[in-house]
């Protein structure tokens, strides 16, 4: 393997590589930090990358965007040594390199924060950050004091308020994400690849991260930033590369020379239609879920809110404000320790999801699709029907699979879930379609109240718009929806009223007139 890598180096000393094919954008005095050319990678039945290319200069933040399935992640995995391309070459400062394993990529100074969560459970924050280069002390033993000292430095840089000695299992999702970012940055690579780093970060945390990234850029690091959030791309990046169907859609473009519509046009291959949500014709009905001075075992204090039929109440707050915890207390996973919960005007004590569903017709679409929302190894049909198996069974307890499919099919059609068949294993569906499946199972159960937690995290623009319409339509049909979201544009677009939560308390309520500038300012006023 080493020899393979030696050969191109020798060629380079002779000055014979790639001189003729240098793409634009290279620095005047040298070769670009990274070039990927004509990368092809196929999986059974799909050409994931079909001649994709990418150039990254030192001191550049490059956005890599595209819809789900466009090939972004595959390209990143080729760059980081997880996949071997069938064709194409990777050059670092003009030298051809090959990465048979992720370790080889690291040796060439490529640091990567993958999209999938990658922390080692039970290990401490510090150990996870320093995993690739655990410092040794006396007798060759791992020097824990140094680990935690060095890890502290990286955590402080990102302003993460967690103990380096804490177990990663005790962290919130946002904190885990920050630890992963710290791990990637701690490798001090020349090339930093961040795949959806802000998916569960608050605006403030995101801004801190961007500050760090800009500093790294000014120090000459080349950064590839993969994100679905176009606002962030425009706020942070210098240039943008769009992938569509495994190919480049247009050349690398300076961010100043393109607008949002231009990017979306490249992503979807046609001009975007700005979809205004239609006016809702049904007014709101009576209250269906009321909390009166509720305290929860998970830190919620004196929470009062009212949700009416045919209404979307948005619950905004920073990650860690206690919104998910409140939802979990409402549906009976966590405990309500004080105050009153009323469902359709009647006092209710909800001790389990089962009773929330069967007795009070309340459902909860989890923010954690992978671990809590869906059973990844089961087929689509079972994931939808899981809430209604008891209703489907006949007198002797038999569930007819024909009846089951007949019951599930309309929901699959209504939500436009794209799957080869009802028996397709959920794990193989795209994130957007998985999200629709986890909505479908509550719709199939016929709930009146739906608590939807971060419905569009990690979901591409088109599917996101699609999900928004869907939520809109559900309310039109008379559901009451409590929408938890950290995505400000989303909550301003959808909610009728917005409640702002902070540290387990509701800080304020805003009647939403869908004016983004004004409403977002009001929201921020309650948070800070």
């Amino acid at each position: 393997m080493d020899q393979e890598r030696m050969v191109p180096e020798a060629q380079d000393q002779a000055g014979s590589t790639t001189t003729a094919t240098l793409p634009p954008g290279r620095e005047a005095n040298g070769r670009p930090l990274l070039e990927m050319q004509g990368i092809r990678k196929a999986f059974p039945g799909v050409q994931a990358l079909d001649g994709a290319e990418l150039t990254l200069k030192a001191g550049e933040i490059l956005a890599l965007v595209g819809e789900n399935g466009a090939g972004k992640s595959t390209l990143i995995k080729v760059l980081t040594g997880l996949y071997q391309p069938e064709a194409g070459e990777i050059l670092i400062e003009g030298m051809e390199v090959r990465f048979p394993t992720p370790r080889d990529a690291m040796k060439h100074g490529i640091a990567h924060m993958p999209q999938e969560r990658n922390l080692i459970p039970y290990f401490s924050v510090g150990e996870n950050i320093m995993l690739e280069s655990l410092p040794r002390g006396r007798f060759g033993l791992v020097d824990y004091d140094r680990i935690h000292r060095e890890a502290r430095g990286w955590l402080d840089m990102l302003e993460v308020q967690v103990e380096s000695r804490a177990s990663v299992d005790d962290l919130s999702i946002a904190q885990r994400q920050l630890v992963e970012i710290a791990r990637a940055i701690s490798r001090e690579g020349r090339i930093l690849v961040l795949d959806e780093p802000t998916a569960s970060l608050t605006p403030h945390e995101t801004e801190t991260l961007f500050g760090v990234l800009r500093r790294l850029r000014d120090q000459g690091v080349g950064i590839i930033f993969v994100s679905h959030k176009l606002e962030e791309v425009f706020a942070l990046c210098d240039n943008i590369v769009v992938l569509r169907d495994g190919k480049n859609a247009g050349n690398k473009t300076a961010i100043a020379e393109i607008d949002r519509d231009g990017v979306v046009t490249r992503m979807v291959g046609r001009a975007p239609v700005t979809q205004e949500l239609p006016e809702r014709t049904e007014g709101r009905g009576g209250p269906i879920l009321e909390l009166q001075h509720v305290n929860t075992s998970s830190g919620g204090r004196d929470i009062s809110l009212t949700l009416h039929q045919g209404e979307i109440v948005g619950l905004y707050g920073l990650v860690g404000a206690g919104r998910t915890e409140l939802a979990r207390a409402i549906i009976g996973i966590d405990k309500v320790t004080g105050g009153q919960v009323l469902v359709k005007g009647k006092k209710a004590t909800i001790r389990s999801v089962k009773s929330a569903l069967a007795r009070h017709r309340i459902g909860y679409v989890s923010e954690n699709r992978k671990e809590e929302g869906l059973i990844q190894m089961l087929p689509l049909v079972s994931n939808v029907s899981i809430t209604i198996w008891r209703k489907l069974q006949n007198l002797v307890g038999w569930i007819s699979s024909r009846l089951e499919r007949k019951t599930v099919q309309p929901f699959v059609e209504r939500l436009e879930i794209k799957a080869p068949s009802l028996n397709t294993v959920v794990a193989s569906l795209s994130g957007g379609n998985q999200q629709k499946v986890s909505l479908a199972k509550w719709l199939a159960a016929g709930v009146d109240v739906l608590i939807i937690d971060e419905p569009t995290v990690g979901i591409d623009v088109r599917t996101k718009a699609n999900l928004h319409e869907l939520i809109w339509e559900l309310v039109q049909r008379g559901l009451g929806i409590l929408l938890i979201s950290s995505d400000m544009p989303e909550i301003v677009r959808l909610a009728d009223r917005i409640l702002v939560m902070r540290r387990g308390e509701i800080k304020g309520e805003i009647a939403n007139d869908h004016d983004y500038e004004k409403t977002s300012e009001l929201i921020m006023g309650f948070i800070h």
């Binding site: 999986f43 059974p44 039945g45 799909v46 996973i333 389990s352 999801v353 089962k354 929330a356 569903l357 069967a358 909860y364 989890s366 671990e371 809590e372 929302g373 869906l374 059973i375 990844q376 190894m377 089961l378 079972s382 899981i386 809430t387 198996w389 008891r390 069974q393 307890g397 038999w398 569930i399 007819s400 699979s401 080869p420 397709t424 193989s428 199972k441 159960a445």
Partner: protein
């Protein structure tokens, strides 16, 4: 619909092909393998092995483990023996004039069919203890059943003073010796009944599906309104009832209830129970069980052992070869799963 190709057929019938080939090999080389007596005796042996395997398969379905299958089998068999054995240690089952058997115990002498049902319920009660302790302590079944395994068999040894119930009712003994077509034991039909029941139970009933859902992803099952604790307890009850059934089946085969059923004597049940499940393709991680696979897994283990015995292969060799069969079967299965995944991915696009 996809056209069945080699891979999808192998997916369904691969293990059956392996079992049939092993039969063919032994039929040719092992004298007496196809004799009516051998088929009868292998049938009884394998049926018990399969039911034990299924007792493990169901708990594996919820991602748990039951180390107490053998202990429960022994305890339930002894409980059954106590229920049905005559109240007086007479000479009923012994040759007249023989001295009274000092290793035997008196029982309650109740109707054996009724006792059979009581004994199964007793097994389920032992399973309830397992499940309840697991749910209450939050510990993994491995630890809990490691403990109850010792408690169950230990207390049974203390109570029975390691004596046996020998004078079992004629009807029950006759049942153990019964032959259909001069070839098949009723134990085979009991086993087939259990296989069919579990197959449809897990596939098409609410509790069965909830078991698999809980095994595949406990948190998601809980968040979908499934009472996971109740599922864990009832699965352990089912498992222990099956282990108890196997214990009674073994008592029928050997004609008495001896304390070492399940844990000694005929060999410990623990390893074969995992081996049959694993060969059959049931995942240790839960969520995916293969009832029919466990049946073939048990068949394979039983026939290989029987065939090797007929070939007069020494016992230690049999042990080693059985281990090799297990390894080979699971490696082949791994290859199969990967091949199936590939062909599915291709077909999905």
């Amino acid at each position: 619909m996809r056209r069945p190709n080699f891979i999808t057929i192998w997916d369904r019938a691969g293990l059956a092909v392996v079992v049939l080939s092993s039969w063919a090999v032994f039929a040719i080389f092992a004298e007496g393998f196809t004799s009516k007596f051998n088929v009868f005796s292998v049938g009884r042996l394998v049926s018990i092995l399969i039911v034990v395997g299924l007792a493990q398969t169901v708990v594996m379905g919820i991602g748990d483990i039951n180390l107490s299958v053998g202990a429960v089998g022994g305890v339930v068999a002894m409980f059954f023996g106590w229920l049905v054995a005559p109240t007086q240690l007479g000479t009923a089952g012994l040759a007249s004039g023989a001295p009274q058997d000092v290793t035997a115990l008196p029982g309650l002498g109740i109707n054996w069919q009724f006792a059979f049902i009581l004994a199964l319920l007793f097994g389920a009660a032992l399973g309830f203890i397992n499940g309840w302790l697991i749910v209450r302590s939050g510990l993994h079944g491995f630890i809990v059943t490691l403990g109850t395994m010792g408690v169950f068999s230990g207390s049974m040894y203390i109570i029975t003073k390691v004596k046996a119930f020998r004078n079992l009712p004629e009807g029950f003994l006759g049942f153990g010796k019964m032959k259909f077509f001069d070839l098949l034991s009723p134990l085979v039909f009991i086993m087939l009944g259990v296989v069919v029941f579990l197959f449809f139970f897990l596939r098409s009933t609410t509790p069965g599906r909830q078991m698999l859902a809980s095994g595949a992803n406990r948190r998601a099952a809980l968040a979908s309104g499934i009472n996971v604790n109740r599922i864990v307890i009832s699965t352990h009850m089912l498992s222990a009832a099956l282990a108890g059934l196997a214990g009674i089946m073994l008592a029928a085969r050997i004609g008495s209830a001896i304390p070492t059923i399940g844990t000694g004597g005929g060999g410990d049940w623990l390893l074969p129970s995992f081996a049959a499940s694993a060969i059959g393709g049931t995942l240790f991680t839960g969520g995916s069980v293969n009832v029919v696979g466990t049946m073939f897994g048990g068949l394979l283990l039983g026939t290989v052992e029987n065939g090797l015995n007929l070939l007069r292969v020494p016992g230690f060799w049999v042990q080693m070869i059985t281990g090799l069969v297990l390894l080979l079967a699971v490696i082949l299965d791994r290859i199969r799963v990967v091949a199936v995944e590939r062909s599915r991915m291709g077909a999905a696009q």
